[in-house]
Every structure is written in structure tokens, then in C-alpha cells.
């Protein structure tokens, strides 16, 4: 019998790496697929010039895992269509603005295309039953399969024993008895297996998608409620800087460090902005049209976030430039304007 071939969705986390390993052990030829959605935390950190504590760049976990597992990897770019899913998910959002169900369906549909084009037999994922409440219940897994047109063709080696037999199991391409029956959030079994196989992995696992971030979600929801629309630029900017909503409805995005200043500079040709005349300190992007009487407030906010000292501030809105003396504004005044995941008072959180 010729060797059976599987495509494995590889995030680079431990679970998907183990899925690859379990199939390799059964003699299955594996190719890894990694999806680029445009909402990747590593990409963002690198773009903002952030590094790990030791000063080295954040690594792409999927590339690292594929090299370690010695499987070919293809990075599939779905970013062009992905933002439409983020704005209008058929199956709704998770806890934040993560459209996990729609996202899985989109990735699996793409995987199906590749499977058919390149002659693979089935698809496998590192999904673990009940690990994530939104997308990993038996009902959800079934729904996702059906929507992707892959019924019976998605094997979840980590939880296979708890799920109905798939085509690869029924056909004897893989031995079901050698697959696992893991469920829930505990990672004990996976960690023991990592040790057994000598796999290095990122800890904590996953967390590559910033749509699951609470502050990102708070900004997304606030912008939608206030402005009525979300633009592709917004989807990028929600992840950067401090966001302040001014009383007029205009918004300030204030850089927190040099990396963010450089990043926001890239937007100054199409947005208003404010910064110290001498170029020191922060840069604040202005979205929308602030009221005339708010210009002083903007200058004061820039002064607050630029070494907290009085300074001359240049504000450019549309074709107009304004030069104002900024006096650092108090944090109490700024706080109600800030948009982030605020904890409820008295929740103790």
C-alpha cells in the first residue's frame, strides 16, 4: 500500500506539534499548513520592534515547530479575506472579538482545496475536545467539519478516541487504538508526551491571535458603537498605543514607546497627528475631526505623554497646522477617555 498523506494544521503550539508526531509514528506522510490571518501577535511585536527579554526577536512558533518535527510547512495567506470574517462572522464571536468558529471553517476550506489539488488523503488538527468552550465541543467540531465540506476527513489525534471514527480510521490508514483520548483544559498528558518525544515548545502555548485580547476587543466594540464602522486601518491600530476618545468623538492614538512612534508615523500621511515640535516624546495620531476647543487638550495630552513637561506641540489636522503650548494634563482627567478592558468596580478582579 502506498503511503497515506495528511495535511496537519500547525499553529506551532504543543497540541498541533503532537498531532504531527502521532501521525508520523503511524507512518503517515505529513505536510504542515500554517495560516497567516493578519492578526498575528508575533508579526505585531516584530513590527513594533519589541524583543524577548534576552533581546532576540520573537520567533514564529510554526516555523520553529516544523523545523523541529522535520515536516515541510506551507504558510497560507488568508489575510485578504480574513478581515471580512472578523467584521461579520456568521457564527459570532468568542469571549472577545475572536470569530473562532468562522476562522476554523475558513482555514479548513482552504486546507480542503490544497488537499484535493495536491492529492492528500485527509486533514488532521491538534484540537482537544472541550479545551476551548467555543469551538471545541463535539457539536461545534461537527458543525465546523460540515461547513468546511470535510465530514469524516478531519482527524483529531489527541481526542480521537472520544470522537466518532473518521474515514482514515475506518479505512485502516491509521490505527485508532494508538491515538489518544484527551479532553479538557489540563495539559498534563501533552506535557508528558512532549518530554517523551523531546519536543521543545512555547509556554504558555497558543496565544498567537490578538483578536482574543480583551483590550483589543474593548476598542473594537467601542469604535463600532461610536463610529458605526470599522476600517481595515482600525483593525491594525486597535493593537497599538493608548486609545483616547475625546468629547467631540474624535480619537487619539498615543504611542507608548519609540517602536510605536515609528509605527504610527506610517499613518501620518492620511491621519491628523500631534507631537512635540522638537520631535521628542510621543506621537499621537488623530482620527476624526476634533473640535476647535479640543486642540489645547490634545497639546496637553501630548505634553503629558512626552516626558510630562510643558512643551511646544504641533498639531496637524487636515491641511491646518496649529502650534500650541502643551501643559501636562492630569491622569485623572485622561482616565475616563481611555479605551481598554476596564474591570468592573467592585468585581475584585
Amino acid at each position: 500500500m502506498s503511503k497515506r498523506k495528511a495535511l496537519v494544521l500547525l499553529s506551532g503550539g504543543l497540541d498541533s506539534s503532537l498531532a504531527v508526531k502521532l501521525l508520523q509514528e503511524q507512518g503517515i506522510e505529513v505536510k504542515a499548513l500554517h495560516f497567516y490571518t493578519g492578526f498575528c501577535v508575533t508579526e505585531f511585536k516584530r513590527r513594533l520592534g519589541q524583543t524577548k527579554e534576552d533581546g532576540t526577536p520573537y520567533e514564529n512558533p510554526a516555523l520553529k515547530a516544523a523545523a523541529q518535527l522535520q515536516v515541510p510547512i506551507e504558510i497560507v495567506d488568508i489575510s485578504k479575506d480574513y478581515y471580512k470574517v472578523v467584521l461579520n462572522p456568521k457564527f459570532g464571536y468568542g469571549k472577545n472579538v475572536n470569530p473562532c468558529v468562522d476562522c476554523r471553517i475558513m482555514m479548513l476550506r482552504k486546507a480542503k482545496e490544497i488537499m484535493e489539488k495536491e492529492g492528500y488523503d485527509f486533514i488532521a488538527t491538534g484540537e482537544v475536545l472541550y479545551q476551548r468552550p467555543m469551538s471545541q465541543t463535539p457539536e461545534r467540531l461537527k458543525l465546523i467539519e460540515k461547513e468546511a465540506g470535510l465530514e469524516g476527513l478531519i482527524l483529531r489525534p489527541l481526542s480521537a478516541k472520544l470522537l466518532p471514527p473518521t474515514v482514515p480510521e475506518k479505512e485502516g490508514w491509521v490505527d485508532r487504538s494508538k491515538l489518544l483520548g484527551i479532553k479538557g483544559r489540563s495539559r498534563k498528558v501533552q506535557m508528558a508526551l512532549a518530554k517523551k518525544y523531546g519536543l521543545e515548545y512555547e509556554q504558555p502555548a497558543g496565544g498567537c491571535c490578538y483578536l482574543t485580547d480583551e483590550t483589543y476587543a474593548a476598542r473594537f466594540k467601542e469604535a463600532y458603537a461610536t463610529e458605526g464602522t470599522i476600517t481595515p486601518d482600525d483593525l491594525t491600530l486597535f493593537a497599538v498605543g493608548r486609545h483616547l476618545r475625546l468629547p467631540s468623538g474624535a480619537k487619539l492614538i498615543v504611542a507608548r514607546n519609540e517602536g510605536e512612534v515609528n509605527f504610527l508615523k506610517g499613518f501620518t500621511s492620511r491621519y491628523g497627528f500631534a507631537r512635540r515640535v522638537d520631535g521628542k516624546g510621543t506621537l499621537a495620531l488623530i482620527k476624526g475631526k476634533p473640535a476647535e476647543e479640543e486642540l489645547q487638550l490634545i497639546a496637553d495630552i501630548v505634553a503629558r505623554y512626552s516626558k510630562r513637561e510643558p512643551s511646544k506641540v504641533l498639531i496637524k489636522v487636515g491641511d491646518k497646522e496649529h502650534l500650541l503650548e502643551g501643559k501636562p494634563v492630569s491622569d485623572e482627567l485622561i482616565e475616563p477617555m481611555k479605551i481598554y478592558a476596564k474591570k468592573e468596580v467592585g468585581s475584585g478582579a
Binding site: 504542515a32 500554517h34 508579526e43 505585531f44 516584530r46 510554526a62 523545523a67 518535527l69 504558510i75
Partner: protein, 81 residues
């Protein structure tokens, strides 16, 4: 052979893009090339220094090396398959 003496069949500039876009670009270009041809990928994402060799290792392409100049990284990869 010194890297700077290599005459690549193709030079592809991905400066201004960050992980994983440089790898997506590299992969797309390699698909269009013939076996034995060499691509020079120019990137400014410091993380590419790890990503490009890792991608080559996993996909079986030959990583010839890289040099850094003025904040840009020049990677040389030979298409093997």
C-alpha cells in the same frame, strides 16, 4: 564562495514586511523558480534570521547563508526541489 559573490537568479525585496509575510513571499517566489536556481531575499525583519533557515530546513531547500548590511538582511536560498 563569499555570499556577496553569488549571482542570484532572482532578487526579491520584502523590506517593510514582518513575520510571516517574508516567508510567504519567499515560498511564492521559489514555486516559480527552477531547481538549482538561487534567490536573494532582502528583508529588514530581524526575526527572519531565524525564520528563513527554519523554513529551508523544514521544506528541504538549501540555505546558503545571509549577510547584514545597513539594517537589511540578504538571504541566499537555492531551490533544491
Amino acid at each position: 564562495m563569499e555570499l556577496k559573490e553569488i549571482k542570484p537568479d532572482l532578487v526579491h525585496d520584502v523590506t517593510g514586511t514582518y513575520c510571516p509575510v517574508p516567508i510567504v513571499e519567499l515560498s511564492n517566489q521559489i514555486k516559480k523558480m527552477r531547481e538549482g536556481q538561487i534567490i536573494e531575499l532582502v528583508a529588514d525583519d530581524p526575526g527572519s534570521v531565524k525564520d528563513v533557515p527554519a523554513w529551508c530546513k523544514s521544506t528541504g531547500q538549501e540555505f546558503l547563508g545571509y549577510y547584514e548590511e545597513d539594517g537589511e538582511y540578504h538571504f541566499f536560498v537555492r531551490k533544491v526541489k
